[in-house]
């Protein structure tokens, strides 16, 4: 394994797999340790805020390019300060509280969105292990033993922000938007968790640092390749839905729901939701990089002095940037899903597939022939499940407002014959 800075990193890495933790706290707490922790928190916080500002600009610029527009170009060079201008405008706008709103929950909700977004970033390793003076520490705000579970916990708390915002607004469209959003987030959390488990299985630890360390040998040791690409694709789909980014942005479908759960929000509270959304995009890109792309792992030019300190950070930032671009690309290229398609994809496709892949990976970890055996079993189960879906779909046809997935192209032309089918099957009743 590549030692990132100190020659003992190899041993430390092995140790980290067993019981992780920041080496900063090995010698107890004193004021220097406190100072380092405070600096880490401050740097992470301000870097995150600045990167959100840049991300909003980046998204607007890239999407303008993809749509043959110019995009923001007035405030600052290349419109870089446009986000700042928008922020100041929002800050000075009137803060409205709807008459029928539940004022306490209404005010609480934006923070429930923002704080999890901030906290998730604390467990992401942004660089290697560095030594300042007599203190050795990891370049990440916190390294709790539950690492990646903390990410899942926080993303499940973020559901509350969206849900309560819609409910507390005391109006119709926000409520519909928030019900959609929270149902979507909960549905995709299952697939998300299952993919995370495959990563944990192969890495042998929940700690994000240990997950990154276990991928550190070479790029073919990245979980992307070790786990066979598919978990990454599942994770990417699930995380996009979890973020309610396009093409899964039904929560903010303007044509259906006005503005979604934050319709009634204005001024700084709206800005908080906006901030949380983009911050989530950034932190989740960072989580993808951590789980599947080795985090700060990458070749280090050793002939440049101190490259070992900053090069991992550069690699990390570059990898995150790729994913931020991919999210913008999604938004420019893909049309929005319909709600039932979204639920079908989540429950009927993604969860069984992630579960199947998880079982195969688990079996391979035990013994590779078991893996083969389980793979055959999973394929058989998939065939059965597909058959079950097909049977369920034909049965649903009688009453479904929208025909199920896979039969939608000719759905409109077949809708006339639907009533005939009804009449035929009416007496049958069918086993329920």
């Amino acid at each position: 394994m590549r030692s990132l800075l100190d020659p003992t990193a190899h041993l430390r890495t092995l140790g980290a797999l067993a019981s992780s933790g920041d080496p900063l706290f090995v010698h107890g707490l004193n004021w220097q340790v406190w100072l380092i922790v405070a600096i880490k928190v401050l740097v992470a916080f301000s870097a995150l805020l600045v990167s959100v500002m840049l991300m909003i600009w980046f998204e607007r610029k890239v999407i303008s390019d993809m749509q043959s527009r110019i995009g923001p170009n007035r405030a600052g060079p290349w419109g870089l300060l446009q986000t700042m201008a928008d922020g100041i405008k929002l800050f000075f706008k009137e803060d409205l509280l709807p008459e029928r709103a539940d004022s306490f929950v209404f005010k609480l909700a934006p923070y429930l969105s923002l704080i999890p977004a901030l906290l998730i970033f604390t467990v992401v390793p942004v660089g290697g292990v560095i030594t300042v003076g007599s203190h050795t520490f990891e370049l990440q705000v916190a390294d709790p033993p539950i690492g990646i579970l903390f990410v899942l916990a926080m993303s499940s708390i973020a559901v509350y922000g969206v849900m309560l915002a819609g409910w507390s607004s005391g109006s119709k469209y926000p409520l519909l938007g928030s019900v959609r959003a929270s149902a979507q987030m909960i549905s995709y959390e299952a697939a998300l968790g299952m993919t995370v488990v495959t990563v944990v299985l192969i890495s042998g630890s929940l700690s994000t640092r240990a997950i990154v360390d276990s991928q550190a040998a070479a790029f073919w040791d990245w979980n992307l390749i070790r786990l066979g690409f598919l978990p990454f694709i599942f994770f990417m789909i699930a995380i996009t839905a979890e973020l309610t980014r396009p093409p899964f942005d039904l929560t903010e479908a303007e044509s259906e729901l006005v503005g979604g759960f934050h319709t009634e929000y204005s001024s700084i509270r709206f800005a908080l939701f906006f901030l949380a959304e983009f911050m989530n995009t950034i932190t989740m890109s960072a989580v993808v990089v951590t789980l599947f792309f080795g985090g700060p792992d990458g070749p280090i030019p050793r002939f440049i002095p101190t490259a070992e300190i900053w090069m991992p950070v550069v690699w990390f930032l570059l990898k995150v940037l790729v994913f931020l671009f991919i999210y913008v690309w999604f938004r420019a290229a893909l049309p929005r899903f319909r709600y039932d398609q979204l639920m079908d994809l989540g429950w009927k496709r993604l969860i069984p597939m992630t579960l199947g892949w998880l079982m195969i990976v688990a079996a391979i970890v035990v013994w590779h022939w078991w893996g083969l055996l389980v793979a055959v079993g999973v394929v058989a189960a998939a065939v059965l499940l597909n058959r079950a879906f097909a049977v369920g779909a034909t049965r649903e046809e009688e009453h479904a407002i929208l025909p199920p997935v896979g039969q939608r192209v000719w759905a409109l032309s077949a809708s006339d014959s639907g009533s005939d089918v009804d009449a035929e099957r009416g007496d049958e009743g069918g086993p329920r």
């Binding site: 899942l152 499940s156 409910w167 042998g204």
Partner: protein
Amino acid sequence: MTLTLLAAGGATIPDIIVFAVSAAVIIMGAFGVVTSRNPVHAALSLVMTLFGVAVLFIEQDANFLAAVQVIVYAGAIVVLFLFVIMFLGVDRRENIEAEPLVGQRPLALIFVGVAVASLVALLVSSHWVTGAHGVVGPINGSVNPGSPGAPSGEVAQLGKQLFTTYLFAFEATAALLVIAVVGAVVLARRERRDLEKPSVESPDDEPSSDSSEKEVLR
């Protein structure tokens, strides 16, 4: 757990502060659940209690339990409660002064007294209600440190216990949950034939049954 530590004199000052603060949060949340007039506020108070318990778990080095507490209870179960509250439109303020069952308050008081007394009696007579002193063993130990597929200590210990010693209870719980879900689906799902006849179908009927069915499926 912390109480025994306190009694043994092994608690440091941060331990005591963390315990006091999270205990206060838990109790405040519990009172909020009971006294809130608005069901949504009650659910949020429940989340507060669950968070306090999670903090206590972390203080006892049971990190995995804390994470599961937040993911499962705060992240899934209370969200489900909120769904039901929002869908069924029962998110109105209630008059908690009203007493639907005559004499329920004194009865409740008696039962709470009995429950607390029996808990205290159990705690005095044995270490744990189950009779086992602890199932997870040393928390920071690891089965096979460094080898892929070997999860870190606590998770490994929990998993091993769950799938060996407590396998029967685990499977029985799983079966129980499946039965509950299937039962709820059967209860909530109506025969489609009934709904087709316009005479049977009432305007309010369908959305509510539909939504509750979806609830269960989620």
